[in-house]
């Protein structure tokens, strides 16, 4: 298994390299003069020329990339000309709220998604299965931003159980209870849609596992249905469910953009949206690069978990 993990770590290098290439090429996609786009319509020609030189935009593309990569590796993502501070500082300030929101949503959606998926599978075609199937259909068809608005309307505005937005109370807040209070609605919104996908896939994988010969063997040994389902079938289904949870991580990290906007959550997603409307390209680059890197590490983690669960993977 150690070899497998080492190999997976090595494989991450080209992936991370690829991510930097794509993020770098984003600047190259900008129609017209990137420096002008970054500095805005009222930029002076001197400033444009200076930024062009700072960014190395006056050099050939591969050289530009290497200069940029060198800066990024030293933690220099450039400066935000709108916020007047280094991109890396702004991104790191906002990374924790995003990870808190997305992580909570991922845990919620995994727990409930897997649980409901198992129930649907073992009650296949029963009323529980039908109810869950309908809920899943609505879940995967619901725009999360709309769900967020509805939840705000009912639970924050009408019932006033939860705050309308933000991560902590402006005055006198900030303790754990306060953060959880603020976290509840956005995390549930984000988890609902992600969880629906997981219910579906868990159900399918459980049904597949329950059809296998080893389940018949377990039953032939007289084991209880509980043990047959949760030890014999579920352990096998989980091997396929774990990588899906990895994909869900990408889904909640992306979906956080909507949820942070709707709930005014001070994370990277909301930062990106406002950075795009102010055309703060360097800030967008930094934010996307950092979140994508987190996602690569989450996928490494799910691969390792899968390898622990299935002894066949590490030896292949």
């Amino acid at each position: 298994m150690r070899n497998y993990i080492l190999r997976r770590l090595l494989l991450m290098v080209p992936v991370l390299f690829g991510i930097t290439v794509i993020v770098f090429l984003v600047i190259w996609l900008i129609p017209g003069d990137p420096a002008k786009a970054i500095l805005g319509t009222f930029a002076t020609p001197e400033n444009v020329a200076k930024l062009n030189h700072d960014l190395g935009l006056d050099r050939p593309l591969p050289v530009q990339y290497l200069i940029w990569l060198g800066n990024v590796l030293r933690g220099d993502f450039g400066r935000s000309y709108i916020l007047h501070r280094p991109v890396i500082d702004e991104v790191l300030d906002r990374l924790f709220p995003t990870l808190l929101l997305a992580g909570t949503a991922l845990i919620l959606s995994s727990a409930f998604g897997v649980l409901l998926g198992i129930i649907a599978a073992i009650r296949q075609n029963g009323w529980q299965d039908k109810l869950i199937t309908i809920a899943v259909l609505i879940g995967i068809s619901t725009p999360s931003f709309w769900l967020g608005i509805l939840l705000i309307f009912w639970f924050a505005v009408r019932l006033a159980w939860f705050p309308v937005g933000g991560m902590q109370a402006l005055f006198g807040g900030g303790d754990l209870v306060d953060v959880i209070h603020h976290l509840a609605l956005p995390a549930i919104t984000l988890a609902a849609v992600a969880g629906a996908v997981l219910v579906r896939l868990t159900r399918g994988n459980m049904l597949e596992a329950l059809r296998q010969d080893y389940v018949r063997t377990a039953r032939a040994k007289g084991l209880s249905e509980g043990r047959v389902i949760y030890v014999h079938a579920f352990r096998n289904a989980l091997v396929n469910i774990v990588p899906i949870i990895g994909l869900e991580a990408g889904f909640v990290l992306g979906g956080a953009v909507y949820i942070e906007t709707v709930f005014q959550w001070p994370g990277i997603g909301r930062m990106l949206v406002s950075a795009i409307s102010t055309r703060d390209i360097l800030l967008v680059q930094g934010g996307v690069l950092i979140v994508a890197t987190c996602y690569v590490f989450i996928n490494l983690l799910t691969d390792i978990v899968q390898c622990i669960l299935d002894p066949r993977i590490g030896q292949a």
Binding site: I22, V23, P143, W146, A220, N236, V288, V296, R312
Partner: protein
């Protein structure tokens, strides 16, 4: 030439090749839920297409006086928005924009992604590596973030948003199509087409493309819903459609800040997005069911903990009340097990009776499909339900009918009093659990031993089945053992609790010949040592002769001949038994001709009337082809189901 190629084409698309199968459209609309989705989408599309001729207000005409009118106010069924524009009108036009963007994006992503996947798989090597590494890089991003980065560079706008959504969806098509193409490219008919000198383009267009089209459709059906949701999302964030143009996401975004004063402005477009997405997802699920039955959204049916059994009045009606042999441990009487698949009934077991005395070994022999495995599985309710069901007969264990006993009672017997050894130990052992634990769990279950004690007992059992270095091997996973060792584990599991009866279903079929002999010897020794009876199932006449006291020859779901092994194999009376024995080569008699039985066994859903073997029997007469033929006694312990054998002894 083309004809020849087409003939060589395997039939991956059952929809149009199997005679009598309804068209894909019929299959699609037959599914009630899919029809709801189709109807929903049809209504939405018709309304959108009629938008220019419907008496709608100008969607962009502001009217500051009548701003934020609630729904059902005069002239505005759905009310007005923050600048007094008619919401119904904007909704219909906006739905059109969202649908058009979604469909165009899906088509573009499908075209580009499929082209990449096709080229990667078709040309392989460098092309494959370069293209797929590029796709991997796109997939390394959280989906939406990459779209945001692209919009950030290109600037907000509906077309740019659509472009971003297309780019991030290309990988899904590329991967799916590459996989589908790879499986086709390796097929013989592509090689034939290449050899015949067709150009690459012709091969792709005429041979490859039709085979991968279902994959493209399936991928499109799963992604088009997301694409519509995500484009709406970008518009919602203000990065897609720009004012005054309305799309559903943009309208929702406008209403977001008005949620306290005018909730309808945001609620109504959200409902429409939801309906569109539900319609697309329903139709997508239906399409998948039709095009790829393996991925059926409902999932394949799972087997219940115990086989379904007909109520006693139906099940026992046809049984004779002949007295039971009081010495028998297990007595199967008139067992009928059917499988219902679609509207067809497969009569896998059609009235099988036999008895096993304590310590006795009986063999069930027959070709594949003769019903011997289903008979064995029926004993402890292990036939998968659905589709299986025990519709007739009784299974008497020590005189009690256990066919419809409670699951709890059955579980007390399973693995404890009656144990199974299955055919293929690679699939019948759980791949993720150590073999020691798989033996130990059955000991804990039935003997109530503590964990450590059960483990020691499991190691002792593994030693007893001659697994070398058992204490260490117990910690191995099934894939780390050889086939013979795995089957020894299966035997250790079966004898773990000292059962009275072991049912062994072709336990050596998956093994090589030398291992077979060792495993059989072991099974027989352990059985004798522990005084267990044996029901041994095999198609191998020689093995049965060696191991068993009594043999039952099965054909077409019934016993056609039975008796002591020596009697049946030395003077077989049923033509099927005779032909079966004629197929066995004999060592040292090379001059003896091996005569395969012509024809194939009958399908269990189309058993002929009369004798099931009659169509393949050289001695068949008219009376063989009608009426029920009983199992008649032709010797002291010898029975045969044949009109000739019965007449000869009458």
């Amino acid at each position: 030439m083309n004809v020849a190629i087409e003939k060589a084409t395997p039939a991956p698309e059952p929809a149009d090749t199997r005679a009598g199968r309804p068209s894909a459209w019929k299959l699609l609309t037959r599914n009630g839920v899919t029809s709801v989705g189709l109807a929903l989408l049809a209504i939405i599309v018709v309304i959108v297409l009629l938008a220019p001729v419907l008496p709608l207000a100008n969607p962009d005409a502001a009217d500051a006086v009548h701003r934020l009118q609630p729904p059902f106010s005069s002239g505005h069924i759905f009310g007005t928005d923050q600048v007094g524009r008619d919401i119904l009108s904007r909704l219909i036009w906006g739905t059109g924009v969202s649908l058009a963007v979604g469909v165009v994006a899906a088509a573009a992503a499908a075209a580009i992604g499929s082209a990449i996947g096709l080229c990667a798989a078709f040309y392989g090597r460098y092309v494959d590596m370069v293209l797929m590494r590029g796709v991997d890089m796109l997939m390394a991003f959280p989906y939406l973030l990459l779209a945001l980065a692209i919009v950030a560079a290109l600037g907000p706008g509906l077309l740019n948003a659509m472009f971003a959504i297309i780019v991030v969806n290309i990988p899904f098509f590329a991967r799916a199509v590459r996989g589908a193409t790879l499986s086709v490219v390796r097929a013989d008919f592509i090689a034939a087409a290449r050899l015949s000198g067709l150009s690459d383009l012709r091969i792709i267009a005429s041979e490859l493309f039709p085979n991968i089209l279902p994959t493209i459709v399936i991928t499109a059906s799963t992604t088009v819903g997301w694409m519509i949701l995500e484009t709406a999302g970008l518009s919602f964030l203000g990065l897609g459609a720009q004012p005054p143009q309305a799309d559903l996401g943009g309208m929702l975004g406008d209403g977001r800040n008005l949620i306290e004063v005018a909730p309808h402005v945001a609620t109504i477009p959200g409902i429409v997005i939801l309906l569109v997405a539900i319609g697309i997802n329903l139709v997508g699920d239906g399409l998948r069911d039709v095009l790829d039955p393996k991925l059926k959204s409902g999932g394949l049916a799972r087997a219940h903990a115990k086989t379904a059994v007909a109520p006693p009045d139906q099940r026992l009606g046809r049984l004779s009340s002949a007295p039971l042999d009081p010495h028998s441990l297990l007595s199967v009487r008139g067992l009928e097990t059917h499988f219902t698949i679609g509207r067809e009934i497969h009569r896998a077991v059609g009235g099988v009776s036999f008895a096993v005395k304590p310590g006795e070994a009986i063999g069930l022999v027959g070709e594949s499909g003769s019903g011997k495995t289903v008979t064995a599985l029926s004993i402890l309710g292990l036939v998968a339900t659905p589709p299986g069901k025990i519709v007739g007969g009784a299974i008497l264990y020590r005189g009690d009918d256990i066919a419809d006993t409670s699951l709890a009672h059955l579980q007390e017997i399973r693995g404890n009093r009656i144990a199974y050894v299955f055919q293929d130990p690679l699939t019948t052992l759980n791949p993720l659990i150590t073999v020691g634990e798989q033996v130990a769990e059955t000991i804990r279950r039935h003997r109530g031993l503590k964990r450590a004690e059960a483990w020691r007992e499991a190691v002792r059992l593994l030693e007893a089945v001659h697994i070398p270095d058992a204490a260490a091997r117990a910690r191995s996973y099934p894939h780390e053992l050889s086939g013979g060792q795995r089957q020894r584990v299966g035997i250790a599991m079966a004898v773990a609790n000292g059962p009275e009866l072991i049912v062994a279903d072709e336990p050596t079929t998956a093994l090589d010949v030398t291992t077979q002999a060792q495993v059989l010897k072991l099974l027989n020794e352990l059985r004798h040592e522990r005084g267990a009876a044996l029901v041994f199932i095999s198609h191998d006449v020689g093995v049965i002769a060696e191991l068993c006291d009594v043999v039952h020859v099965m054909y077409g779901g019934r016993i056609v001949e039975s008796g002591p092994v020596g009697v049946v194999f030395n003077s077989p009376q049923h033509p099927y038994t005779q032909r079966l024995l004629a197929c066995v080569p004999e060592l040292g008699r090379p001059e003896r001709l091996i005569q395969p039985i012509p024809g194939i066994p009958p399908a269990a859903n189309a058993l002929p009337p009369g004798c099931a073997f009659a169509p393949r029997c050289q001695l068949a007469e008219a009376r063989c082809r009608s009426g029920a033929i009983e199992l008649s006694r032709i010797g002291p312990d010898h029975w045969a189901r044949c009109v000739r054998a019965a007449a000869g002894n009458a």
